[in-house]
Point group: D2
Chain length 343, copies 4
């Protein structure tokens, strides 16, 4: 089996998790990770024995790493040359600049939701439009909310068709440990429609979507309420069955103690998942309710890790490791251990 | 003009505001307020010079008031005898017991949303079903979220008809100053459908409604997203015009700095409203968005004060002070100073 | 009685309250308030009928007010000319620039805690160093935490002398309605010593002080724990007696339901205080504890309004309205209604 | 090497971490864990393949486990018989009842801070009074705040002696995932002195201690400010050196990005620690400040995991595995991997 060589640019919230995710794939090799300076995450990487080779995105900052005794294997440009594909998880806007570097060495690259759509050849979601990413050089992933939302909507759409959706995103305003942004005792309304609704329509152009996003002062997971109008009437039980078969969707019950986003974070910690991460979205079973043909439900989006599987799918598509959608995502799932709870 | 004599049972978050609201009505006389013990709200009433006569709901607790030098004018039973109508704002379940007292003296009474529907002859909303309350002895008001929600839906319904609504209630979990309940860094999902959707259908039986409620760790105002399917297609501008004419609905703009529930609370404080209260719901102009015939928008519900106008409407209906819906609510609005900003 | 003419520059959180405070003083005339643009607070001022004349701090912004139909009485420069003294409550740093204007017209001015100390001739606290402000042209007030803290420490110091204090400031991170700053599920530690400890030593140079400040995600009042070493041993009862006689200090009990900062905010709202403001700090009776000669206690600082009385004291001192400390503060207290609860 | 057989009663927040901690000790065998019902933590244990044998604390609840297909190895009573020592991490008060069972089979047991002191022969802290626990049958551990606090105070005390301490505990009000308790936009003051100050004096009777505790709406770590009066004057640098040598204390810098409790939680997650746990307390270097002979500093207490090392120390003392304090704690540290960052 040919090992695909992968580099990760940006070792923040997403970059770290991408590195872990790639490292778990038996058909990929994580060549290394790059960041601009010795952040706390880089220090933690060093404290745990530097399992990943570290590169510096800003060559002149190498001395900052040296001062702390953190070994650096080279520059981002050197990392790029050693890789087949780069997962770019830098801050919004930096990816567009890095693209020149990737183009210079004719490497493939996968950008995150914060970049503008025109950075890439295709706006990608592993389950919803895998085929569009096959062989492409530059892919852009959907953001965390959109990624999770599309999983649920695509799941219904492939079974019975979806005509339209209206969503309310109850957004966690900051990640755990964020001190540069926050909200205190306030809900904040965004201009509608939310970009997530628009993005869904870009990925799934046959579905009408709209939505409103409200920021809330919490850190562990967004909750989205989805009102979907399927093309064919389905019962609550049928919806549950669809979701239950999806390896990236967990069905959980309020009655079991899954009361909200914080229960899922706690559960992921108890599972022993690194960082208490969860790749799956969750559907709250008792939130599902019908009104005529419409069906409404609430899902939980673990914002820090939810995009990891679809990023790995993107490598598979771009590198043509699997050219069949279901074969591609199945490989990702297998190595990430997704869907084990279904066994 | 005959002055209707009104008593308030329960001097908590709602009871205090009902007393203030009644006291402002030129055709009503606030005979007094009753509570079970000298709570902080009662102490505050004393500190500001006891503008309202105070009665004790539990006669044997009179000594607790005496010890603090708080003059008590009598018992709740005595208060009831002096009144034409009682606004019962006691804790959920107590109203049902107090009802016996009201019945004993053949008085009218108005219960709050926390009581069961069967406590009353009619489930009442000032704008939506005023006529149903006319002359009735026992009325029950809708809860804060339902009251505000129905204002908005009824406003559209009377203009173009509403076929169905789907709501997401982003609920403030506790009132300012609550220490007996709270939520910390967590969103909590309730079993669907939310009672507010069901209650809306009881008041407006020709509308289909469903919804999901999620609790959030904030104290100043619920936000509800409403997806409405009107019978006749309307534009965003038409919706804005409908709302702008309603004296109990404020249209506010994100662009002006009304970013969420906390902005509205601050604005109400800056207005000099007692307790920083606001009777109106607010619609965030930039949240309004269309999808086909559906129209979606976000409203703010100031949970502490929003039900006051409809409670006063209920007195007007029950006492047959006005037998015309619009005349009744107009009197309430006039004395509460609602809609002045529209002038 | 000569009426002192006062202007307020900056109509934000503090400026609004200064205006209200000055307007309540029978021996002062509020000439007007100035701000740079039609903020929400300015809109609220207009909605309530413009009780104060409004000036624009940036002349070319007059058109912004005009567009909204908000009458403007002139420029800040014109306001300054009409006044004897200006309370400058602009954003930190702006006061230093405005000082040129005040100097140009030879007016007195009082700056807030956010300005640098060198903006003023004296760093002022009404109770602690009134005499130092007498006749001075430029005074700077202590910040909210320092103002409240000094009230308590000065109260003890005048009775028995204070040798040293060590404080922990549990700071509310944002005001109600702030969306530009916030903290979510996090405590944040500041570099020690806190400026409040240093400022206390500037005002009370005979006391040693140190302290640590920790930001917390709440909006209604700072809590400070104070460990004081008095020169003479005092009992808990003696401390309570000292505090109970102070018109700017409330002694409250956990047992009565005053459980923390949120109880005090609720109480102030129930009192009907405009904006739910409270001028007094509060001491939690059951928090007082002794350890050897040291005495420790917790106080609540209502951050939005606590500095108003000392600002008005500063006018009295600067304008030589009263040249005796206790006479000066007593006049302020009388018109603000402070200490009424002690009667 | 004789393997000490250990059982854990109660598989909640603390019990899970005790089990993990014991399992990591090469000279101990984790026989199993017991709980009353299939909680979310038990379900997570099952999902990850049941690495620990599970016993039911309430025999008649076995059917609840059976229904979920969760294999149960027996009852708590059976578990007790197989063990040398039980770590009792049940809810407060249950430990006192379980003690009868431990006594019946003449087993040793270690209780947590929530139990009353009289449940045990000795109130124990690994570093501060290891010797007192040697060979005892029943030990009670200090609570999370007290455990961390004593680490710091004992560290100073052993070098230069400590005369007295005054503490302010800025307490996280709930653990991540708690929905049964919470605080929203409020600080809550407790009756002083805090039990932690009293407990410190029980463990370290030669030190005078007092303190105030304030609850805050956060979930990831308490912060305590400590004002210590050492017997011998020490500089900030000397204090830093003492702390830096302690394997259960991390010295961290604001300048590096360790801004508060949330930074430490994030760092622990990035380290890959199971559940993002951290056994060490942290001292914020820039919080250290002197005032005369007094020295003040702020520490972070990771409430979920901080007591694990001292619990394992307690096993070592009670079972006489090591009869020397430093040898005992060193073994615990070695197997928990503590102090590795110092290498």
């Amino acid at each position: 089996m040919k090992m695909i060589k992968v580099g990760v640019a940006g070792f923040g919230v997403i970059g770290q998790r991408l590195a872990d995710g790639v490292a778990s794939q038996k058909d990929m090799e994580l060549v290394g990770v790059a960041d601009v300076s010795p952040t706390l995450s880089v220090r933690a990487l060093k404290e745990k024995g530097l399992p990943y080779a570290l590169y510096t995105a800003v060559p002149e900052n190498k001395k900052l790493f040296d001062e702390l005794g953190i070994p650096v294997s080279g520059t981002l440009e050197e990392l790029v040359q050693k890789c087949d594909v780069i997962l770019d998880a830098t801050s919004a806007g930096v990816g567009a600049k890095n693209k020149e570097l990737y183009a210079k060495y004719n490497k493939k690259a996968i950008f995150q939701g914060g970049e503008k759509n025109n950075v890439a050849d295709v706006f990608f979601h592993g389950y919803a439009n895998y085929e569009k990413g096959i062989g492409k050089q530059f892919l852009k992933l959907t953001s965390c909310n959109t990624t999770g939302l599309i999983r649920a909507v695509d799941c219904i759409d492939r079974e019975v068709g979806v005509e339209k959706v209206a969503i309310t995103i109850i957004r966690r305003v900051a990640d755990p440990g964020d001190y540069h942004r926050g909200l205190t005792n306030a809900l904040q309304v965004d201009k509608a429609p939310s970009h997530q609704a628009l993005d869904l329509m870009t990925i799934m152009p046959h579905v009408d979507a709209t939505g409103i996003l409200v920021h809330t002062p919490v850190t562990h997971g967004h909750i989205i309420t989805v009102l979907a109008t399927p093309k064919k009437d389905i019962s609550k039980e049928q919806l549950l069955e669809m979701f239950s078969k999806h390896p990236r969707i967990r069905v959980v019950k309020l009655a079991d103690g899954f009361l909200g986003n914080a229960s899922l974070f706690r559960y992921a910690r108890d599972l022993g998942n690194p960082r208490g991460d969860m790749y799956e979205i969750a559907v709250f079973e008792e939130s599902i309710v019908k009104s005529g043909k419409d069906i409404m439900f609430a899902i939980n989006i673990p914002q820090e890790a939810v995009v990891i599987p679809e990023n790995i799918d993107a490598i598979r598509a771009a590198m043509e490791m699997q050219t069949d959608r279901l074969e591609g995502v199945a490989e990702t799932n297998k190595y990430l251990g997704m869907g084990k709870w279904m066994e």
